[in-house]
Symmetry: D2
Amino acid sequence: MIVVMKSGSQQTHVDHVAELIEQLGLKAHVIVGTDRTVVAAIGDERDMEIGAVESAPMVDRVVPILAPYKVASREVKPDPTVVHIGPNNAEVGGEKLAMIAGPCSVEDETKLIEIAHAVKEAGAVGLRGGAFKPRTNPYSFQGLGETGLKYLAKAREQTGLAVVTELMSIEHVDMVAEYADVLQIGTRNMHNFNLLMAAGKTGKPVMLKRGWSATLEEFLLAAEYIIKAGSTDVILCERGIRTHESYVRNTLPLAIVPAVKRESHLPIVIDPSQGTGHAYMVPSMSLASIAAGADGLIIEVHADPEHALTDGAQSITPETFAKLMADAGRVATAMDRSI
Amino acid sequence: MIVVMKSGSQQTHVDHVAELIEQLGLKAHVIVGTDRTVVAAIGDERDMEIGAVESAPMVDRVVPILAPYKVASREVKPDPTVVHIGPNNAEVGGEKLAMIAGPCSVEDETKLIEIAHAVKEAGAVGLRGGAFKPRTNPYSFQGLGETGLKYLAKAREQTGLAVVTELMSIEHVDMVAEYADVLQIGTRNMHNFNLLMAAGKTGKPVMLKRGWSATLEEFLLAAEYIIKAGSTDVILCERGIRTHESYVRNTLPLAIVPAVKRESHLPIVIDPSQGTGHAYMVPSMSLASIAAGADGLIIEVHADPEHALTDGAQSITPETFAKLMADAGRVATAMDRSI
Amino acid sequence: MIVVMKSGSQQTHVDHVAELIEQLGLKAHVIVGTDRTVVAAIGDERDMEIGAVESAPMVDRVVPILAPYKVASREVKPDPTVVHIGPNNAEVGGEKLAMIAGPCSVEDETKLIEIAHAVKEAGAVGLRGGAFKPRTNPYSFQGLGETGLKYLAKAREQTGLAVVTELMSIEHVDMVAEYADVLQIGTRNMHNFNLLMAAGKTGKPVMLKRGWSATLEEFLLAAEYIIKAGSTDVILCERGIRTHESYVRNTLPLAIVPAVKRESHLPIVIDPSQGTGHAYMVPSMSLASIAAGADGLIIEVHADPEHALTDGAQSITPETFAKLMADAGRVATAMDRSI
Amino acid sequence: MIVVMKSGSQQTHVDHVAELIEQLGLKAHVIVGTDRTVVAAIGDERDMEIGAVESAPMVDRVVPILAPYKVASREVKPDPTVVHIGPNNAEVGGEKLAMIAGPCSVEDETKLIEIAHAVKEAGAVGLRGGAFKPRTNPYSFQGLGETGLKYLAKAREQTGLAVVTELMSIEHVDMVAEYADVLQIGTRNMHNFNLLMAAGKTGKPVMLKRGWSATLEEFLLAAEYIIKAGSTDVILCERGIRTHESYVRNTLPLAIVPAVKRESHLPIVIDPSQGTGHAYMVPSMSLASIAAGADGLIIEVHADPEHALTDGAQSITPETFAKLMADAGRVATAMDRSI
């Protein structure tokens, strides 16, 4: 870290800061500038509460130098991680793009299996569908629970698609892990550290959705929790952030793709359905995600969005999905990748 | 809800929307404007997936009319809720302001008890302190666990202060409820609905911190989860939101106070420590919170912020806290309230 | 507009709102719901101060129904506008994508002409470069003024590129219009309505950059000012918004592309240089913009970014630009467009 | 500045960065850490394009150390600036709080003079009112122009209130300066640097409103433009920022008050009307502003908000204003200030 002293700080203030730094086990290095004095701390500061130094007299601010993530970082592991999912070992993070599609919630066995066949045929390798739904409104449909998981498993059996489904609570971790190929951690739980560790302990692939207002650093630290707990197969997922924009439900910041590729070895997929909130935007944002370098997409597909129990406004039909996959294939080719 | 049709929509599109509305059990009422047709849905839409109507052809957008919260709303309960906390039944939401103070984390028994005495003497009625800490960084200090809870209980015994401490995980709910007077749900868990329900089931007072990017509606719906589960004693807490501002760690939006007072009967307190991230801002934001009409404050106080294991940059010393309480008393008097 | 009454409102409150609506020249239509009464106002509300109705007793809120823009809207003009720029009448908004590139600021005649040749050869149709620079810091380089404009004109003469340059002040409108093919209105001036009108009066093509925190509606209303003043050739440009994200200088919200295509007939181009703030992100965000359906790109290119007088961190070299154009051509082909 | 090198950078990369720093006229100082090397640049970097160094190979990022403002900073002028406004030399920034009130727009001579008398009687020292209105919608009421200014002057004559009115365009600077006591620069023009300089050249007091998404640094740099141009009497005004919050029109970040007091010697006033967008929030946010340490308030007051031509939803009546001033007086006393 770099500690910037206020203008007018005395030798005694600088000495005190140097002492605090040494107490942390770091080495202090003072640089007297023309206007300001700064004190650099040499050593590994990542596990320290360096912010506390801001409380020392005449300190203006503390600037961290090292990003705090370790096992999620590209510095530690320069080669990209490729995660394999489902009965067919579909890859996420390799040359092939991973297309994951399905309803927001599992509503009904027949409908789910129809959708699964439809998205499989169009090119998907994964089936999404929530059995446990985190609902903002306590009066809304909360999901079918284990019954929903069973339908997903049946759909996998028939199609070979990898099942991607949300884990909402530690008490369900064994149950969800039994049926799912990929445990999804939703946006609302990105900072639920106990849940991250429980998911990681299963050793299964985990799809980690970025929190609505999480920083890139917090996103990668959440991945770090999962990896540390035992699963190295973390798939990052961007699904939009909260901003002042009102023509979308969330703002989809695609520059996270090159940023993640620079900072981390983990694959990243994009959710253009939640990432915009409107079905009409899903095709263009899907293509944009591929061109941005994403490793896959996770898309809400429903046969009858007007009657969907959840997320109808942002679900596309199987027909739109099939057309989108065709277009996506062409953009993927232009990017030297394939579907 | 109001469904706004696109310009150029035909009778058949309008009829289809009306039919969807009737299928939801609502009554459709068509209004043909000079430029646009809108279809109003009459009935209680709060538990319905009204967004799905956006998927119908030629629908421009869907505007909800009713706020979805019920038991948290002032419409349902016009009288303000007063929550009583701790051995002395200190009130939150009444004429007296509730001052809650203490370290970010419980670090050590002696230090905790010293702080407890100091803040009590200055006018506090509650003692804050985390035994379980949600840490962004997996390598950071994670709290003392049950040992920390025991220290808190001992401090209560000596001072009569109500213990306010964070519940991070369902598995700890019994343990935390045994020691705490108020269960705190942190920012990162505001959308952790299972945890909200577990906290509510204890029947104990719950302090619910607003998520970094939660809307007012989501905040009150989270309270609704707790109330529905069994605790009517919910204390809302604003602790800052994520914005583009960088001179603060979070932006503290005090207009939430009159908004909550208008929409809900629940009391609201402000956390100016996390709400700004800088100790030097805590006194002025504390006074501003009182003048805004808040029902109390929750403030991080540490005897030696330079060596705090967590949140040192935003902790004030007991001396600063005592001075602040004196100033706060004067502002409270100006507002016809007291400390 | 729809006026939502508070719960508990009386007939007299509803009548009063109806009267206010009739005073505005609109027709009031009352709908009594099970929980709330709403009053719909029928007629063209777009030029009215409808917000004032919120002040009436027992009004909860006012919901506008009509988007306020007219000549910028697709409803009024369903066919997309194609703008032709520069000596070669390059199109913006047609099948061909418009690539505009050049230095942030014009710094030197020789360097500018070299860059112009390089970007032309790589496939650009426009040359960007600021002669008047809006600088946040009054001590920073402010641009070469008319001299810079002359260099741009000379570069156009040699290459046939259209000159795109910023108009910062009404007093320079004649001067800038004399040299430029496209008048650029910068982010900081999107709400500078007098400048918008002055630019529009020239009848020249205008590139309008979205404000950092402008809504889509405000963006299109700014275009409306220009069109109303006399220039129908408005090119919208997205260049990033201010959010909590810190790994970018601005968050680039590409979903604005389908939103603009739905709401307006105007073409839209993307600025991935200012839209991210980092050179390493420019190639991927350029390709993503094309796949999102944008009509072109405006990119900062500098032969020696380390010594650029402005925006060095986000400028790419001519070599990187040439490589990017080759990749962009492939993505454009996949989108049935060309460069 | 501090240049942080990437992990794996070689001596040659470090040398190159050191050379770039020396070329800027600064002195390079290399610190080899355990994980990263950083290069500190010693000297006054404030006028330099330091961002360009980010383009050098193996540079991770560039961290500025010095805030770029000079004459607006407290470092340069430790004593607070007190601005005197209007015929009675009312002070802004001293012990007395400056209360400025009046309609959003000047609509009519009689009504304006009535309001002026009413707010004067209640304790105001300034009269606000727009003669030139920046309207997002080109079809909205644009203000009375010079006629409006004349009404304001007449109201001043009768009441002694200082006239605070917006300058929107350089061409009106002489006209507005002739009638106004304080030139207001609106939010939309905070980055309109030519207008800032034109206002500063008049030597008159200038009230500078913060841009919707401006950083604190940009806000103070805009003040720097005005001071450099000739007016040292700059009054900062916070009027709300754009965030994801929807229960307000803008989020009012009162922590800007202690931040400005720490960084600058300039006074700061708060606009709770635009800062929230709802009349019902104005009283509590006014009191909160005073308790936060603001030097005054600027409030929209209209005798008949339901029929106001602009900003009706956020205007309070003269009766509400009188009540507010009484409450404000008590909070001011609690803060050792007065009205």
